[in-house]
Symmetry: none
Subunit: 129 residues, 4 copies
């Protein structure tokens, strides 16, 4: 399990961790039902506090990515991640708008932008490396 944190970044560590795990799921490094390391072991592995890991796990649980079983530890949601609903789409649009607005200002054309997206998509769909 590869976790790549940037301790210099202003992005909270727990959020970076959340994203790294989501990325792992997208890349199919983690399959539904697969176990994740315990709070403690992951924390010591990457050298951060267990509460930080716990916060990331709690958020992933809230969003339906993982399940936390008492004492059995943490597993990727065996039923798969909840599908995109209306709320998610609105959130996604809200997140995309600033990126696109700035791209327009900087003359970064629509074609280039879409190409970049496709490139990232392809990057994930390469599957387990």
């Amino acid at each position: 399990m590869l976790i790549n944190l940037d301790f210099e970044s202003s992005e909270p560590i727990y959020q970076q961790l959340v994203f790294q795990i989501i990325e792992g799921i997208a890349r199919k490094d983690f399959r539904p039902g697969e176990a994740l390391p315990s709070v403690r072991s992951l924390a010591s592995d990457i050298g951060i506090n267990l509460h930080t890991v716990n916060k990331a796990y709690q958020q992933l649980k809230l969003e339906g990515f993982i399940q936390i079983h008492r004492q059995k530890g943490v597993v990727i949601n065996p039923d798969g991640v909840p599908k995109a609903d209306e709320r998610y789409k609105q959130q996604l649009e809200k997140n995309l708008r600033p990126l696109i607005a700035e791209s327009i200002c900087r003359d970064y054309g629509e074609e280039e932008f879409l190409l970049l997206c496709k490139m990232i998509y392809k990057n994930y769909q390469g599957g387990r490396t």
Copy 2:
């Protein structure tokens, strides 16, 4: 000038302000060379702290969107916004990755995603409303 702030959001107010102005430029509500309200007047207009407006303006200046002159006040950069450079593209990709990774997890297909982007592009290119 329409400024739409969400005081309940976890997004800092100064960042919301930064984005609203960038959006205005993208939508061509603000043209190069056009004047923006002074820190004081904008702050009192939307009922927020001077420092908050100032922080937003400073960031916009740093990124080349505006110029701040002691006498002439604040104007949209007459030379236009700096074009997208390599650094910007990397930053953009870094911002897009989490959005795309989560979309994949949620079965929100590439086509839909690209369609959403196009819609937002079209939305901005409608021009001055």
Copy 3:
């Protein structure tokens, strides 16, 4: 004997087990004097730890629902469950208060609430299914 456990729930398994058995008594699936499976057999039936079943049985014994005999095994209390006493009523009120307070906040009216209670009562009094 139908036992329905939710291993993802934050409610401890032994408490779920306790409640399932209480529910069985309320529904008259279990009659006074009737035998319950031994700790061992129940544990292996539902695939949980011996200690977990034991903890549930101990709690049921403490509250007077069952009797545990070294030889005869576990039986539903032949004298019936102890009647509601003052202590029980206070406990019940303490448990109901949060539910009712939240219902009020959420505009879930008293009539609806009482109707829901009646429905649950009726549901149990249907008798052995």
Copy 4:
């Protein structure tokens, strides 16, 4: 603001706190838009750690009871608490079932049970004392 915590109870302090505030809203001690004490001041007032108060506030925020404004502090949701939805009703039923099942076992009749509920309802609707 009266907060009554039982430090002996097995119920987590933060949950007791959550309930006390919900109770305050139900009793109309707290009106929509009204400010709540800051995390720090409430923590020192009742002699607990600020993180414990924070956890309670975060949960109340998640459930829509309060809003947390950056730096402006905490206020009761001005739009009122979200109405009871289907999910809430199911949760409520799930919480009521064990209470009712045990009542049936203990010969605590339906009439008495409903009377107790009504009593609690009346108790809250007395309004601000």
